[in-house]
Amino acid sequence: MTQKINNADVYKIAAHHRFQWEEAQNCYVILFPEGMVKLNPSGGEILSLVNGENSVADIISSLNEKFKDAGDISNDIISMFEFALEKAWITKI
């Protein structure tokens, strides 16, 4: 079930999860009990901004600015939030 993401929401990486850059794999990963997920560059980029302070709107505006050439990527970012929430990688503050 997809949960609604609001622009004003602030998320953090969920308890018992660790998000880190991995030199050997050249990507961000999420580590948690019994599992790990290697993130693709865009997924990693988004989650690297999820820090318990930035709102969803902050992250969208920051990435739209950074990837100007890609057009409006707001919906992609929202989709990633929905997916990460469904996977319980992130929790709302």
Binding site: H16, E22, Q25, P33, V37, G43, I73, S79, M80, F83
Partner: protein, 394 residues
């Protein structure tokens, strides 16, 4: 950014030891009937690696990309240097997991693990009843496990419960899940027994019926619906009732590396049963060379080694022919298709095993518990009647 693929990198074969399992000792205070450790473990309880040797293993594996560290055994807490190993693992950036029976986990030790940066503790539980829990482990550890569970929760650790499922507890799945919920478990692994090591010798006594497994899976799914994300439940399916084998270890030498108590490096827990293998040891070989260049790690990588029916099978990428150890133990041919597969010429061995497990006379044979004494007896060639269906000692 258009193609986000939900943020997940595509699942490519990479041949990198992402998971490092440190089977740090084969000594164990429990005597579980379903233990997957090799039945000849008594030969490997001497010459354990030192703390410094383990630290070198952690450093070398981390350089190769290892991320998830399981500290296992035997019972790892029988060693008094787990605290040092945890500190090192944390400083290297591992996500570390202590896999324990709970025996030996004191307030003092858990505080040291917390301070040292251990990420989680996986506790084995066996049943809701003291009687069955104590029976299958051949110990009186039921109450202690309850106490340890509370201690894990109290220290803010994610509570990961591992429950090996077999005939004696499969009727209690609902109650086991309710117990897990009451203990505040975050993750529950209902691991149907895989038949290796001690569990293979005790297969007739442990194997549940197909109906029991279907019922257990149904109850698990209902419980999942009810509990949602609050408690993640893994139901590890038993391969004997499947038509296709499991993709064992996610592929031989693909992502898992196991370093055993004495420093031997294996691609899977039970690889020692295989014939003509010479597993390298970290005391004599560089870990990087072991992983990438050793003949044992390369032997069953990919699909070059396969014979028919696997070689030309359209499904071979799904399971890579299944488990080499299971193929060898049951068929005598390490390169045969895993007999689980209904396309395997040896599938009748699995069907026979399922028949045998319904045979009351065979069920009534005494369980051979995982003890030093039984291990030595098996090494010395005793209990032959229990080994007659296998092509090597499990």
């Amino acid at each position: 950014m258009a193609n986000l693929n939900n943020g997940v990198e595509s699942n490519v074969t990479q041949t990198q030891p992402l998971w490092l399992l440190a089977e740090i000792t084969y000594r164990c205070p429990l005597h579980c009937a379903f233990c997957y450790n090799p039945t000849d473990y008594a030969d490997y309880t001497k010459n354990e690696l030192s703390t410094d040797q383990w630290i070198k293993v952690l450093r070398d594996a981390r350089k190769m990309g290892a991320l998830q560290l399981g500290i296992s055994g035997g019972e790892p807490l029988l060693r008094d240097d787990i605290e040092d190993i945890v500190v090192e693992a944390n400083s290297l950036g591992y996500y570390s997991n202590l896999i324990t029976s709970g025996v030996g986990l004191t307030e003092k030790r858990i505080d040291a693990f917390k301070a040292g940066g251990l990420d989680h503790i996986q506790l084995s539980m066996h049943d809701i009843t003291e009687e069955i829990s104590n029976f299958v482990t051949d110990t009186s550890t039921f109450k202690l496990k309850q106490k340890v569970a509370a201690m894990i929760k109290d220290r803010g650790y994610p509570m990961v419960l591992n429950v090996v499922i077999h005939r004696y507890n499969i009727g209690h799945i609902k109650e086991i899940l309710e117990m897990a919920e009451a203990l505040g478990a975050d993750y529950v692994e209902l691991a149907n027994t895989q038949y290796y090591g001690w569990s293979l010798i005790n297969r007739n006594q442990l194997m549940p019926t197909k109906e029991q497994i279907d019922e257990a899976e149904k109850i698990t799914n209902e419980f999942r619906e009810y509990i949602g994300n609050k408690m993640k439940i893994f139901f590890v399916v038993p391969d004997y009732y499947a038509e296709r084998p499991k993709k064992c270890m996610n592929g031989w030498g693909e992502v898992f590396m196991i370093v055993t108590a004495n420093g031997d490096v294996l691609p899977c827990h039970s690889a020692r049963v295989l014939p003509d293998m010479n597993f390298p040891n970290v005391q004599n070989n560089n870990l990087n060379e072991i992983w990438y260049d050793s003949s044992s790690f390369n032997k069953y990588r990919g699909d070059e080694w396969m014979k028919e029916p696997c070689r030309s099978c359209s499904e071979k990428e799904n399971d890579l022919g299944g488990c080499r150890c299971q193929a060898f133990l049951l068929s005598g041919d390490a390169e045969a298709a895993d007999p689980i597969c209904t396309k395997s010429p040896h599938r009748h061995l699995i069907d026979q095993a399922l028949e045998d497990s319904k045979n009351e006379k065979l069920q009534a044979q005494p369980i051979i518990f995982r003890t030093d004494k039984n291990s030595k007896e098996l090494i010395n060639g005793e209990h032959k009647d229990r080994l007659k269906d296998f092509k090597a000692m499990p």
